[in-house]
Structures are given as C-alpha cells and as structure tokens.
Symmetry: C2
C-alpha cells in the first residue's frame, strides 16, 4: 500500500476514528485503525463493538492495499508531524513507513483479518436534522443519564419519533430531561434507546453548524449517523424505556418566571458553603415578586433575594443544587418558567422545546 495525505485532513480523520477506540481492552485488534485503500477511496474504520466509525479520508492512492495499525501510536505520530504532505507506505511484512519532510517513522502494521467490520445494514427508515440541532439536543439532555450501569436503560437516551417530532428523553431517577425537535415532512414512528456513550462521542465529532446535516437511520438493533463523509453505527440498548407520561402533568399551584442567569449564579454562590459530597439541599422560598434563597452550613450562611414574576401560592421547597444548576446551565433562554405543586412534588422547568423535571429534597426548616 502507498498513499499520500495532506496532514490536516489526515489528522482530522484520525481524530474522528479515535472516538471508537476503547481506552482499555484485551483485544488488541480493537485498538487499531483499519486503513482500507483497496478501492478508489481511502477509508478508516474503528470499532469498539458498541460504536463503530467509518470515515472517508481525502488522499491519493499510489498503490492499493489494506492494513491495520495501532490507533494511538498512529495518531500521536500524525499529530506531531510537520504541517505538510504525509506519505504512508507498507512493505510486504506490513511494516508501515510514515514520511513527512525529513521525519521518517516505521511502525508495525497487521492484516485486517481479525478486524470486526461494521455491520451492513439497510438504510430505509431515517430522519434528517442539522448537526447543530443534534449537538444541542445531546448537550441539553446528556447530563441526566445515570453514570453507573446498575440500570442499563438509564445509561441511554430515548429517541422517539412520532407525529413529525423527535423527542429525546434522559432520566436518572432524580430528574428527567426532555428535548423536542420538529421534523419536516416525516411520518416515521420509532422508539429506540441510544447508549449515552455513543451520543457523547458523536457530539464531539459533529460540526455544530446549522447548514451541515445528519441523516439518522434506524434498524432493528442499530442506529446510524451519516454526516459529512463519516458513518457512525451504534448498537441500541435493548428493553422497554420508562413510562414517563404519568410523571408529567400540566397542573401546578405556583408558576414563576425568573432570570436564568441570576438564578443560576445565586445557586452557584450558595454551593460554595456546601462541602463536596455533602448532600445539603438549598431551600428556596417563593413569594409574590421575589425568590429568597438561604443556606446555612458550618462554613457560613448566605441569603439572597431575586425579583421574579409569580402566580399562585407561596411555596418553600428544597433541592439538590446540582440538579437545578445542571438544567439551568444548558437552557439558552434568558428567562425560564418554573411550575411547582408542593414541597414534595417535582418542579418542572418547561418551554415549547424542552422540559426539565427535578425531584425536590426534604429539608429541615432552617428558619
């Protein structure tokens, strides 16, 4: 094999490929990039058995061939090469020589014989969204998946397509995040659970531009993201997702509109007085025209009042500050509307396109 790449496009493709290289594995072939230049284009493939990535690389083929190389060593070398054309050549023993200006590396390659190729799947059912929208949807929901694997379903996100709308849901037992996106002319009906890890990796590769599109295909056991010249294929999580409809209600006793940044900064300041790992709640007192946040810990006390618009009953309610902040941080609106029922019922931050439900925390009155 003998191929030539401009360094920048090579580096970009290697970076994308690395997203599906596992950090630790006992199968060394999974740590490889498969470089396939057997046809008229050069394709890099990586596969960690849950997520697989294929990306087409801009380059010139002088001699066709196929080789697998350790992804991290290859990536490190490419990254540190001068900014110029990179010549890659393999000999009959699959030793790969990488030459750029006067620097010449030789690393061992291997055959692709035991490489796990991506599954060949039928691409019939799909939706199209912008890379910007998909990246935003992931950012605005991914924080409330569960971190540990005790409940596999909670480590993924529900992607539900119905009535021309994509609804993405994540939950971890303490809170629920929902983002909705209107789809143009789409009659698909689908409900799948996508691994959170997949979404995190995809989000890092997406350009975030509104004019760049992604096709998302759905098959029996896989979801496929097709964009630019890259295909990312992920297994789905099997099982029936949680019934969340019964937890969602439009009833409320108190409704308030508050400046998002003021509220976020105020909670952030209050958490200064809470030691990490300490689960002390913050207590919020909502009255006509103002919200009062007080906290008292062995480190000190804080008291802050924020102007709000409020309808309905006065209420005092406690929260884990992290859960409130996580939601407020990803909301881009200047003001948020929050609905409350009582001190033991969830609070809901809601707009047309998103819904964040957060369970309150019991508190021993601090006054």
């Amino acid at each position: 094999m003998h191929i030539l790449f401009p360094k920048n496009s090579l580096q970009k493709s290697v970076t994308i490929s690395l997203r599906a290289v596992p950090a630790r594995t006992t199968m060394s072939i999974l740590e490889c990039i498969l470089i396939d230049a057997r046809s008229n284009e050069i394709k890099f493939t990586t596969n960690d058995m849950e997520l697989g990535i294929e990306t087409i690389v801009e380059g010139t083929i002088y001699e066709k061939g196929l080789v697998a190389v350790d992804a991290r060593i290859f990536s490190d070398i490419i990254r540190k090469l001068p900014d110029n054309d990179v010549d890659i050549h393999t000999d009959e023993n699959l030793n790969m020589t990488i030459t750029c200006e006067k620097a010449k590396f030789t690393i061992p390659g291997r055959t692709g014989d035991d490489f796990t190729y991506l599954p060949v799947l039928e691409k019939s059912e799909y939706i199209t969204v912008s890379q910007f929208a998909l990246k935003e949807i992931i950012r605005q929901t991914i924080f409330s998946i569960a971190a540990n694997e005790n409940n596999k379903l909670m480590t993924g996100e529900l992607f539900e397509i119905r009535n021309g709308e994509l609804r993405v849901v994540s939950l971890d037992g303490h809170r629920i995040s929902i983002r909705k996106l209107f789809l143009k002319e789409n009659s698909l009906n689908k409900k799948v659970i996508v691994p959170g890890k997949t979404l995190i990796e995809i989000s890092k590769v997406l350009s975030g531009e509104t004019e760049d599109m992604v096709n998302i295909y759905f098959t029996e056991n896989h979801i496929i993201f097709d964009f630019d010249r890259t295909t990312m294929v992920s297994r789905l999580i099997e099982g029936e997702y949680f019934k969340i409809e019964q937890m969602l209600t439009n009833d409320y006793e108190t409704k308030m509109v508050i400046n998002k940044k003021e509220f976020l900064n105020c909670i952030d300041r209050a958490t200064l007085l809470v030691k990490e790992g300490d689960k002390k709640p913050i207590v919020i007192n909502i009255e006509d025209g103002s919200l009062d946040l007080r906290i008292q810990t062995p480190m000190g006390s804080m008291d802050e009042r924020i102007d709000i618009e409020k309808e309905g009953r006065d209420i005092m309610i406690g929260f884990n500050p992290k859960f409130l902040m996580d939601a407020l941080k990803v909301i881009d609106d200047e003001t948020v509307t929050i609905y409350l029922v009582n001190a033991k019922a969830p609070c809901v931050i809601r707009s047309e396109s998103y819904l964040y439900l957060i369970l309150p925390v019991n508190f021993s009155s601090v006054r």
Copy 2:
C-alpha cells in the same frame, strides 16, 4: 470593622494572598488571610512560614478593625460575587458579613492573635530588576531544580550578585541551568539560595511587564521582593551551594549551530516511541552539515535528519530527551549553539545570557 472594595481589586489581592496559603496544614491560622484595616490603608497578609505576602488593597475604610478569615472560603465567595462593590462588615463576635448587590454571605472570622506576622527586616542591600526580567529568569531556570527534598540545596536556586551582574543557577545532578542579567550601577556582593517554591509563587504574581520594576532585598536569612503594592518575604535555604565553576569549561571538540524549533520538534517526535517512565535515550549523530536522530523501540522506529552548521569532530552521543527538550523549550533564540567534547562529557548550550549543561546518557549503539 467596615470596609468597601471594588470587586476586581479585591479579587486580585485575594488571589495574590492565596499564594502563601499552604495546601495542607495542621495550624488552621495559616489558612487565614489577616485583614488589617487599623490604619489608613487596608492590608492583607498571609504566611505559610516559608513565604509571607503582604499586599495593600484598594478600598474604603468606614470603620477600622482587624480580622482573620479562612482564605479559601473568602476567596471562593469573592470570586463568585457579581462584578460590583463588595461591602465587608464584622460584628463584635467577628462574624463577617460580605454583601454585594443582593447577595449576602456571613462567615466566621477570628482574632489575629495567633497569626504569625511577617518579620520586620532591614531593607538596605538590594537590586532592582524589571518584573519581565525576573519572571523570565525564573521560567528559564526553575525546571532544573530537584523535585524531591533529599538534597535541600537542590530544591532552591542560587542568586549570586557580583560585578554588577545577577547570576541565577539551578541544578539537579543531571543538568545545570544558568541565567545572567546585567545590573545597572550595582556594587553589591551576595550569594543566597532561594527556595524554588518561593520563586514559582512569585513568578505567578509578577506582571511580566518590562516597565514594572521589582526591588529585591537581601538580609541574613531572608529575601524580600517588593513590587507594585505587594511585599513577598521568603526564608533562604541555609548552606553552601555547589561549586559549579569546575564543571564549566570553554573547551570543546565539536560545535554546532542548529535551528532550535526544528531540533525541539524532532526530539519531541522521537519521544512518541518511548513509553512514559522508560528511560530510553535518544542517540544523536553529528556530522558535517547534518544531525541525524534515530530511535528504535518495541513501538517502532524513527529517523530524522536536520541541517546544521558544524565545526570540529564528528560525534555520536545519547541523551535523556526530556533534559534536552526542557532547555530548548525555555530558550527564545531562533538558533542555538551547542558545544560537545565526547560521548561521556556534558553538552553545553550557551549564549551570552544563558548556559545549559546536560549530562549525556550511555547508549548501546543502535546501528
């Protein structure tokens, strides 16, 4: 006590003060900032018993007083306050109330009774240098102090003033770094060892501007850095510094001039093939007109040639790549001149203002 600060100047002073607050200590008073508003100016003092800092803070005194507060909690609160005037008030029990816009914090204060004040020292012997020069000198020598305390002298830097010149030396048994600075009209003769930790902290506070000056005072057991409205006092390390003159010679068998960036990048690339912790040397072959660097490890091999100007004998010599890179990284010149004697003698990178001496490493020939 009742004082008022603009948030920015308060935060700047707190950040400076934190540099002398120990990360871990059993004496909780050392974790405090002493806020002294007993006279007509407000002074913050911190002291970790090796380094002490006094800084004058811009602010208004409504009621005089003195209080010590936990430096980290105080700093965290100030940092997260809105960007506006910060009002600080203590009551008769030394509880401190910090108010900024609508946010109000209360934290416990304490008397300064057991606070260790900075020593009162005679400021007679001194030099003046620019903050830029001092910051550069520290950056260009601090990397070759010894990290562990086995040899206390090696954890500091020699500051030697003689013949109107400041010479700063650091060494760790494998290498020596020397930086020289010409002093205007100065007849002082001094030789002291300054703790490396002190220099690292000072370097973080220095502005780095050529027009801002620092007065450096020398006393029996202390060094004092006076700049802007801040005084940093450090203990000196006791003892007799190493005699380095006998290790320095102007004799050489080979002299080469090389592009610094090319050389640095080339070594950097070679280290890709060396696992962390592995002490494999890089081997450099110097011939007329070119330097050839080769490395071969289980991960692969690299070979690179760089154009040089060379006088004297050909030579092949091995180095710990980190030591060469550390020196090359801090040199600002475009080309460096390197002097060599033989494969077992130190190599010297030298100009008028700096000298870096690096011991070579034995290597089993790779060819």
